[in-house]
Amino acid sequence: MSEQTNFTPNIVLQPALEPGEIRTRRAFMVAAAAAGVAYTAMMGYPIYRYLDSPGEMAASISAVTQVTLKDAQKLPLGSVLMFKFGPSPAMLIHHQDGRWISLTAVCTHLGCTVQYQPDRDRIHCACHGGEYDPYTGVNISGPPPRPLKLFKVAVNDTGVDVSRA
């Protein structure tokens, strides 16, 4: 190829094959592609950040390590209080024997919100019939693969402090 370009007639007949021109076209294509990528990134980045704003906010909320539930010390025996620990639902149970237990309320199977059933003394997930122990959070029956996570509970005169164990 390089030998052929030494012959002038060939250059005249096939200008598209001239080495210099190929380089120029390639440089142009590279520059155009780079500009295209730059444009896409310049428009894509703000749009991504805009759409992800609630996600980022939720992430900062998940960093929460303690929640204070005002007046929750008045919760009657054998009842439950649902609250948000960071972005996700959680439950505070005041058992008949006076014990305070707090756990996440998100089923480990497929993420439904579970419920405490005082009459049957169990935590139940209505979606697929999962069951958990209301004292330890251990998965007893049904499809849940893992136990519900326990929180630390501190009861005082003004309320209940729930914190990550």
Binding site: A16, P46, I47, R49, Y50, L51, D52, S53, E56
Partner: protein, 364 residues
């Protein structure tokens, strides 16, 4: 480049071609020609309008992600503008693109007018285009209320006086649009439904019709070109020559739009308060300034209700004349009528520019 190479067998293309007729479409695109002459620059403005409309659809959907009509309207726009990352930019692009789109459509309209592209057989292009401009104005008007700040509240209040001025049925129509006798949370909900559902449902098919007509009849040439013998007229293929330049114009429009939205972000006023007086210096958007000023001028010359009615008649008469121009100046045989139409267009431009300047001049 010009040498024809033997096509490489491509079973996937053949499969799709057999079912979708890709070759026919490609052949159609290859044969489409665009005239080349001194006024070719004006051919880009319809495309620019279309591009800005696409920007509106895209940024509109992004705003829909967080916007809440009704009682929370202002709060949700405040969140978009000040809380969500780059929300200010997206809202700014939507607002600026709306203004640029109206501007591009108006430029497109006047270029069509002076090229006499409304003449036979392109009358429906003109009518559908005018209808699209009307819908774009309603798009602008309805979108203006959605943030529910002070300015949008008063703009809507004043704007609703236009349908209310229609004899006999005016009050009824205005109440139906507002959802009662006053602009409020119910109104913003209605305007929202109009802005994001009703208007696009009308606009998009009409736009498709408009673009299809351009395909059917091709670009019109100005009379100076039409007078030349066919052999002297030049044209270029749409694909890729014109398309390439069209897309370059879109890129220019995108850059201008980004710059405006970035350097002059759209503001958000105080939340609307039905008991607060109208802020000092409040005025219509630039595209409503001219009709506003014309009515004011006519009202100064002819005082009272007679002036008001005459003003509206004169205004609507001129608008009707403008709309029906293809019937008056119908072909290149029109001669004197053609020249009259050109003068009419020049007078309209002067009147629009004059009253707009006067409107801003006499603001304070």
């Amino acid at each position: 480049m010009t040498t024809k190479t033997k096509p490489i067998p491509n079973p996937i293309y053949d499969w799709a071609d057999e079912r979708l007729g890709l070759s026919e479409m490609a052949a159609f695109a290859r044969h489409k020609q665009v005239p080349v002459h001194a006024q070719s620059f004006w051919y880009y403005w319809g495309g620019v309008s279309l591009f800005l409309f696409l920007v509106q659809c895209f940024t509109g959907v992004l705003l829909l992600v967080y916007y809440r009509p009704g009682a929370e309207a202002y709060e949700s726009v405040r969140q978009i503008t000040f809380v969500m990352h780059f929300g200010w930019l997206i809202r700014s692009v939507h607002a600026w693109s709306a203004n640029l789109m109206i501007f591009a459509i108006v430029v497109h309209m006047f270029s069509v007018f002076f090229m006499k592209a409304y003449r036979k057989p392109r009358e429906f292009g003109w009518f559908s285009g005018m209808l699209l401009l009307g819908l774009a104005a309603i798009f602008g008007f309805s979108g203006y209320l959605l943030p529910m700040d002070e300015l949008s509240y008063f703009a809507t209040k004043v704007g609703m006086e236009i349908p209310a001025a229609i004899p006999w049925v005016g009050t009824f129509i205005a109440n139906m649009l507002r959802g009662g006798p006053e602009v409020g949370e119910v109104t913003v909900q209605r305007f929202f439904a109009m802005h994001v559902v009703v208007l696009p449902a009308l606009f998009i098919p009409l736009l498709a019709f408009h673009v299809w007509l351009v395909q059917k009849h091709g670009n019109a040439v100005p009379p100076s070109e039409e007078a030349k013998p066919a052999a002297e007229r030049k044209s270029e293929p749409f694909v890729p020559n014109f398309l390439r330049k069209d897309l370059a114009m879109w890129l220019v429009a995108l850059n201008v739009l980004s710059l405006l939205a970035f350097v002059f972000p759209w503001s958000l006023g105080k939340p609307f308060d039905p008991l607060a007086p109208a802020p000092v210096g409040i005025h219509p958007e630039w595209y409503f300034m001219s009709p506003f000023e014309m009515l004011k001028l006519i009202g100064m010359v002819l005082k009272g209700t007679i002036g008001e009615i005459l003003g509206l008649l004169l205004f609507n008469g001129a608008l009707l004349l403008w709309l029906l121009i293809p019937f008056y100046d119908s072909s290149n045989q029109a001669g004197r009528r053609g020249r009259h139409a050109t003068w009419f267009g020049l007078i309209v431009i002067l009147a629009l520019l004059g009253t707009t300047v006067l409107g801003y001049w006499t603001l304070k």
